[in-house]
Subunit: 231 residues, 2 copies
């Protein structure tokens, strides 16, 4: 089995965790931490250390179990998985309401090599201005600008039902991937990944964790009261 | 094994997918769709139908494989997993910059029973006003307001390094769970779940999917050229 074959079967959940490991590692670097055990990384992430080792192993790199991981080196290696270093990702954002503005203002993505080079809106008051130094164009110019600037990633942050039409335009202009923040499901155009980001999902997940944590606490109380062990 | 024991071992990834199923179901209801096969749901989500069946089965409900799922009923059942119907979730937001404002403006969470009852900021120009009809209080009043209103969920949307101190205050005021949008890792206080939401992670994930899709396309081309099958 070649490396490429292996890459294709890595689960979405693993990728999500790899991103979170990267975030932890960056934070540790900033705090001056030099080495790290899989147990420590696991604790920061609320997963098992077995999970951490399995995740890292699924990419077939990252040595040294006994002595722990070198934070600087591990960060570089995890970054390489996401293509940092090898390329820069030009992004555009469609829709600059409060969410679009918040996304443009977020400095977070710069450290991974992403940068906005264009924004689009249908509000004539915004077109021709700059928001967070990024030029705002009319939606009609979307295809031309995406082609000219060779933009890789399109971020859809429009509130309404126009998300699908925008995705189609982005696709036709040769976009390589789409992040969709709009409350509308976009089917993946052939070979162009679309990642839906629905922040209400995070609330749902949290409510589930709260209920689980509270049920667990209740159950532990019951078990103490009953003085019995359940396997 | 009781239902509660089973619930505790359900993976985070499954929960994330259940939330996405719910989103799909809501969208289908709005389009007037009445029944749905696991294959159709799988296609909308870009997962396998086996995955859909396994996910739904892990909660031990949802009948009828052959004839497909009833969309209305399945939505109600999936919602029940997340506690909708059984309770309403009062939320507060700390930090009302562009991200906080975008979150307050998002109507998305209402349908799952979440609502904002308070916002907090340290900008005197904002304190005492309402943003999206939600009253804005001073950060100093956080504990008192959270206690008085019996707020369940605290959303941290401050840009800076004050996230940890805010999490501590929320915890001390009896918050039941925290959603952290700040670029700072917050360790989970005992028995209070903290869910970190880092939007830059979505960019990282997308860049991985793009690379994988492009590698796959290249490989398929190579395979056609070589006229050979690789298992």
């Amino acid at each position: 089995m070649s490396t490429t074959d292996k890459t294709t079967v890595i689960a979405k959940a693993t990728i999500a965790r790899m991103g979170m490991y990267l975030r932890c590692l960056l934070s540790l670097q900033q705090q001056g931490v030099k080495t790290l055990s899989s147990r420590e990384l696991a604790e920061m992430m609320s997963v098992t250390s077995e999970q951490v080792r399995r995740d890292l192993a699924s990419f077939g790199r990252f040595g040294k179990r006994g002595s722990g991981y070198d934070v600087d080196r591990l960060r570089l290696e995890v970054e390489a998985i996401f293509g940092k270093g090898s390329r820069r990702w030009k992004c555009c954002i469609v829709g600059v309401g409060s969410l679009g503005t918040a996304l443009l203002a977020s400095r977070n993505i710069h450290k991974w090599g992403f940068r906005y080079v264009a924004a689009f809106d249908n509000d004539p008051a915004k077109v021709g201005t700059r928001i967070e130094r990024v030029p705002v164009y009319a939606i009609e110019d979307l295809k031309a600008v995406v082609r000219k600037e060779q933009i890789a990633i399109g971020v859809i942050a429009v509130p309404g039902p126009s998300a699908r039409a925008i995705a189609r335009s982005l696709h036709e202009a040769g976009i390589r991937g789409i992040l969709n923040f709009a409350p509308q499901v976009i089917r993946e155009p052939e070979k162009t990944p679309v990642l839906a980001v629905d922040l209400s999902q995070e609330f749902l997940k949290l409510s589930f964790y709260i209920q689980r944590a509270e049920e667990k606490a209740e159950r532990e109380e019951d078990e103490i009261n009953a003085s019995s062990h359940v396997e």
